[in-house]
Symmetry: C5
Subunit: 349 residues, 5 copies
Amino acid sequence: METFGKRYHPPGTPPGTLSRHGDGGATRIRLLEYSSEQFSEILSPTPEQCRIAQQNDLIDWLDVTGVHDPTAICELGETFGLHPLALEDVLNSGQRPKVDFHEKHAFLILNLPHLIGEEIVLEQVSLFVGDGYLLSFCSGDGEAFEPVRARLRQGFGRIRTRSVDYLLYVLIDVVIDSAFPLLEELGEQIEDLEDLVLEKPDKSVVSSLHQLKRDLLLLRRALWPQREVISRLIQHDAELVDETMRPYFNDCYDHAVQVIDLIETYREMLSGMLDIYLSSLSNRMNDIMRVLTVIATIFIPLTFIVGVYGMNFKNMPELEWHYGYYGVWGIMIVLATGMLVAFRWRKWL
Amino acid sequence: METFGKRYHPPGTPPGTLSRHGDGGATRIRLLEYSSEQFSEILSPTPEQCRIAQQNDLIDWLDVTGVHDPTAICELGETFGLHPLALEDVLNSGQRPKVDFHEKHAFLILNLPHLIGEEIVLEQVSLFVGDGYLLSFCSGDGEAFEPVRARLRQGFGRIRTRSVDYLLYVLIDVVIDSAFPLLEELGEQIEDLEDLVLEKPDKSVVSSLHQLKRDLLLLRRALWPQREVISRLIQHDAELVDETMRPYFNDCYDHAVQVIDLIETYREMLSGMLDIYLSSLSNRMNDIMRVLTVIATIFIPLTFIVGVYGMNFKNMPELEWHYGYYGVWGIMIVLATGMLVAFRWRKWL
Amino acid sequence: METFGKRYHPPGTPPGTLSRHGDGGATRIRLLEYSSEQFSEILSPTPEQCRIAQQNDLIDWLDVTGVHDPTAICELGETFGLHPLALEDVLNSGQRPKVDFHEKHAFLILNLPHLIGEEIVLEQVSLFVGDGYLLSFCSGDGEAFEPVRARLRQGFGRIRTRSVDYLLYVLIDVVIDSAFPLLEELGEQIEDLEDLVLEKPDKSVVSSLHQLKRDLLLLRRALWPQREVISRLIQHDAELVDETMRPYFNDCYDHAVQVIDLIETYREMLSGMLDIYLSSLSNRMNDIMRVLTVIATIFIPLTFIVGVYGMNFKNMPELEWHYGYYGVWGIMIVLATGMLVAFRWRKWL
Amino acid sequence: METFGKRYHPPGTPPGTLSRHGDGGATRIRLLEYSSEQFSEILSPTPEQCRIAQQNDLIDWLDVTGVHDPTAICELGETFGLHPLALEDVLNSGQRPKVDFHEKHAFLILNLPHLIGEEIVLEQVSLFVGDGYLLSFCSGDGEAFEPVRARLRQGFGRIRTRSVDYLLYVLIDVVIDSAFPLLEELGEQIEDLEDLVLEKPDKSVVSSLHQLKRDLLLLRRALWPQREVISRLIQHDAELVDETMRPYFNDCYDHAVQVIDLIETYREMLSGMLDIYLSSLSNRMNDIMRVLTVIATIFIPLTFIVGVYGMNFKNMPELEWHYGYYGVWGIMIVLATGMLVAFRWRKWL
Amino acid sequence: METFGKRYHPPGTPPGTLSRHGDGGATRIRLLEYSSEQFSEILSPTPEQCRIAQQNDLIDWLDVTGVHDPTAICELGETFGLHPLALEDVLNSGQRPKVDFHEKHAFLILNLPHLIGEEIVLEQVSLFVGDGYLLSFCSGDGEAFEPVRARLRQGFGRIRTRSVDYLLYVLIDVVIDSAFPLLEELGEQIEDLEDLVLEKPDKSVVSSLHQLKRDLLLLRRALWPQREVISRLIQHDAELVDETMRPYFNDCYDHAVQVIDLIETYREMLSGMLDIYLSSLSNRMNDIMRVLTVIATIFIPLTFIVGVYGMNFKNMPELEWHYGYYGVWGIMIVLATGMLVAFRWRKWL
């Protein structure tokens, strides 16, 4: 994940300016209209089709994937009467999750995290919900919403029989729950790392730890505010969320809290593991030093003794003694044994 | 305890989908009906028996153990009119403790921690409380509720004379209090570890510390929200909790707070102990280095001196001196004594 | 102080069960009756005497010391109509400080810390305050209340002229203020330790630090909730605390806050001191290593040089040179001096 | 950034005393008057011109750059009826961001951070907003407002058609958003440092880390309160902020929160990096010590052995043996090989 | 500053007992009476003078310096009808800052920090404000209020024309602002220490760091509650603070917040600096060890080689070779060069 990860205009740019960032995939627009009886899906609808759709009695879901084309987004904004600042946030992905209540619609920004290969990628999902219509904008490929589209097409489950706030719930649920597989994967990585740290810590541990901490830190920044978004959605006294939908949104809220709980737990586990790793490094250093010390303190004095009798003085009586050589060996053995005993007594061996 | 520890559906699954996870023990259902005068217990009641029980004036406790059979759970859900999302939470154990107030009943999730051998296991206890009936679902073996069942059978104490909220209190009390024996056991382990760290720290300390910290971290995640659950239960203005039951639920709340207090205290004690362990490692390293330094700095210069007189130069006048050898010994003794004095002065010996 | 420190029933025990824990000193009961004019004190009053006392116009203080006798406590409970859960808390000492408002009386639990020798001991003080009577239960020897009893006996100060809430204030004041001499003692220990750490840190520092941190941690757990207890007592809108008594209870509240402030400050000072100690260990290690390095790097090359001229090759021209020996000395002196200069330049000497 | 960074009067100075601090650039005053139809700009207006401007129907923006001239500021204060304490805050730059609601105008203090070369500089922006006029005081060069002045001059965008609260929003937006380029720059520095720490940590890392932490700490102190300033501005029930302006100020609020989020994330990343750096230092020390230990423990015993046969005892039978020399070599090779095997077995090689 | 720093009565002392602590300077009492027209100052007024002063229309400031004389304080208490618990707090300096609203007056305790030489000293300032009179008690020498007395005497500024709450504001302002010179001084010390830590860390750093941390910790304890005191003063709905005085007290509040902000920032800077210091210690150790390792690993093998040819075996063919000596030198030079290359490759040189 990117550290800064936010797109912004240079300070001083007039508010509501829409501009192109990077060149991701093309913008694909799908218009799904449904009621309990009928369902239709139009790819790349014309503005006129959108306007008609908005006025009939069906529930309209305008599903936009890829938000790199300011012109198309701006056109949609005009068709549905969206606030220019909200459109700016749709285009400038990397926003903080939030909910804004405008006159005719609510505007939500959420982050949908998923793994691409080894890397965690955040897709910004922007939702506009009004009376009978919902616009969704995904900064990524929008594949996460495919099961929802499939359920709508097949008329499976309750989804076609309920109003637009049920669709809103389903999409939010997908976004929130998409964190679970990711966190399960991270949980497994953490457990593997834990075993490594406790059993045979090596240098790779440090960078793995750092990578995981960093990912969790950025993930927390991205997902933490979602809890408040859903809480404000529930508490908002407009008729946006129907009374019978409460348990569903409460369930979303619980999941958002669980995601944060897990992230916090993981972060604490990781910070504990660095301490363990550092103490195992210290332990290792102690082992190494102990060996060095034992060897050196035994042999340095012995080497001194043999050096003494390697001196070339004319007058060194010991050298003439018949058992001098054996005597020196005796002294050295006694000395070495004494030291070994002392080391064992100090628990260094 | 498992790090991730949560069961979930793949994102995009329709809400209220009930599916089988793992294959734990069989689902056992007990229907206990009682009033102050009578008591009956039916094992594996039929749906019909449940429906009848629900309509009579007795208090019904449907005690379900093992939640791996989606069909049976689903049937019960229909009989008692339970919300599909709540049933989903019953089956997907590893939920965060919470309380939801539905139209006809309240739904609670609690975690019951206990020790199996060395390992801490969390049983999810889900409770539905309605007018005159209580459903309890235990993800484990439900042994913790045996004393309550026994009291009901024997008509011991006040339990048979009170309404269903007293039964609710008794079950919550069992769940909350089950943390105390566990925490007492952990407290003893921490005190043992403390003695070990202060007296003769060895490598096993690190992994024990880590294991305890990890257990407490996961335990905190599981038990922390229970405080709020009980607090919301007390504050909820429905007639769920009778005025005369307030002191009982307040007592539960106090116990839930004490559990968290203990966990936090233990966690702080453990984090202090790692510091102590690290400083004892440093102390040890200092000791080892001091010995090495003393031995090396005394003998290295002496070895040099004897090396000098081991040289084979033709013209080395000292070698010819009659007392040269003794003179060298004298110099070396003076040098060694001087160093020992210096070391003692620096407090290295 | 004990780490776990709480007494509890096995989970599943019926609420309100009173049972004997340990066998502390005998239970002593004193009944003190007073008004501004009269005063009487009865040791070990009969239940009948208690009942009479409760009905007359005098203020009654039933002062119970030692709470190990369930029968006596239970009898008192019946006489004064106390809640069984409250009596359970009185017997199971080690409770968290709290205040409960029952119909006819308020129930308070407080912790009275004092030093016995070197060890901090917590006495649980349980207070029931009703209309014209106050029951106090001390888990310890109750000596802390002796000055209050003396003031009552002598009619000294305002105490005899005021109502029962003044007596409540006086007892709470004694309990809260008993932390000050203890904290003053701990403050002195911390200052002594601070001097030790900064001037000549040795190994005893670590265990002293640990002991102090542990004591403060457990003290905080025991005293922290007292602030809220008093705050709830003040805010409670019953007529328990008279308007003119407000400044007195506010004063108690300020003292409770000061106690927590001091504990937190001490804890932060201690955690800073461990860092200082660890850095002094590192400093020491640096010193030791520097000496070793200086000695070793000077003499190891010199020893090599003298080793060279100790070789026994037939053909070593230098050995034959007349000034060879002096030349080698010259080289060695230059080398050693050079190294000393280098070390001084690197600030290692 | 300066650590203390605040200007203040000596304690005891009468409130509202205006005095000169340092001698920054000259004070430049610009009076911009506009409505949707007309626009005029007066450099260094006379007090009389200001008074006239204030009374006509146009929107007046008095843009003051450089706040080192107490006389000029004082004159303006009298013309517009500003509170003396507010004027004092304008002159004593380094204030905490705040908003005060006076009778006729609101007074805001904000911090505008920008990079000058390598250094982060805080400009204090003080805004007075009244009915139809806005006074802005920049302690720096005021260049950040140039795009706004340009938009006013060119009549570009909505700015000329809206009332004074839109101008207020635009200026606040510039101040808040000016943190983004700075934070992007810091984010890049952090990522560079991260690579350095993980790949080849050297000593420069420590001071870079420290510098970044310090900058972020001071930046947080300067920007943290801005969130609350905007939040109070939105919640204030005066007609200061028109209903249609809400989304704009909400947007500012979101940006202020994002700025703080980023700063906190960066701070946590940096504190993780110091741990990584310290563990890489420990790792390095381990490597060094391992090499030293291997070399020393192999050669020290060997050197002892050759020392033994360098002794000059008359009676040393081994010296006479024909294959003695080769035997010693054999023993030494066996010994060295054994040690190498032991080291490899311990994973030290 | 003292760690405990609080004076208290032994637990069990009747409330409102006034007793003498230590023997600081004598108690000096000044009575300043003023209105916009007149001003009089009486040193050591009699109780009678005080009583008269209280009844006339002038504003009375009774300024008491040195609070060691219980009799004088008690007399004043009776004259002005002060609460005995408040008087106890005046005498027992070292109280936590607080505000109490009594029936006829408000009672404030504040801490005035200043430097005496190198040491930070806290003066307790106690203020009683009633209708038309203000009593101030300083535990120190009261010099900080001299500028206020001077302004009153000279009738300089607004002070003589305003009511007693303006005097209250002026005194609080002096107390709060007295922290700024102190914090500026500490800020400079921190910056000096920062340079020292980054450039040439030595042992003195640790005790300086510790001293500064300790001072800031105690300063925080003393000044933190002042924010709440002023906030409660502003919010209190009595007529104590006039509407026109709001901006003045808001200004005090902002300053109190800034003081805490600065203390917190300093504390975080200091805790970062200890990490830097520790990492510089580690860096240094690495340098030392590297030098030792390089020298030792080069010369130890060489010394072994020369030792080999120092052996006295009869049969050592190499010794007889004509170029044996030069050959050994060759081998040693190759070996040493190889090692140097290896070290450079590992970046140890």
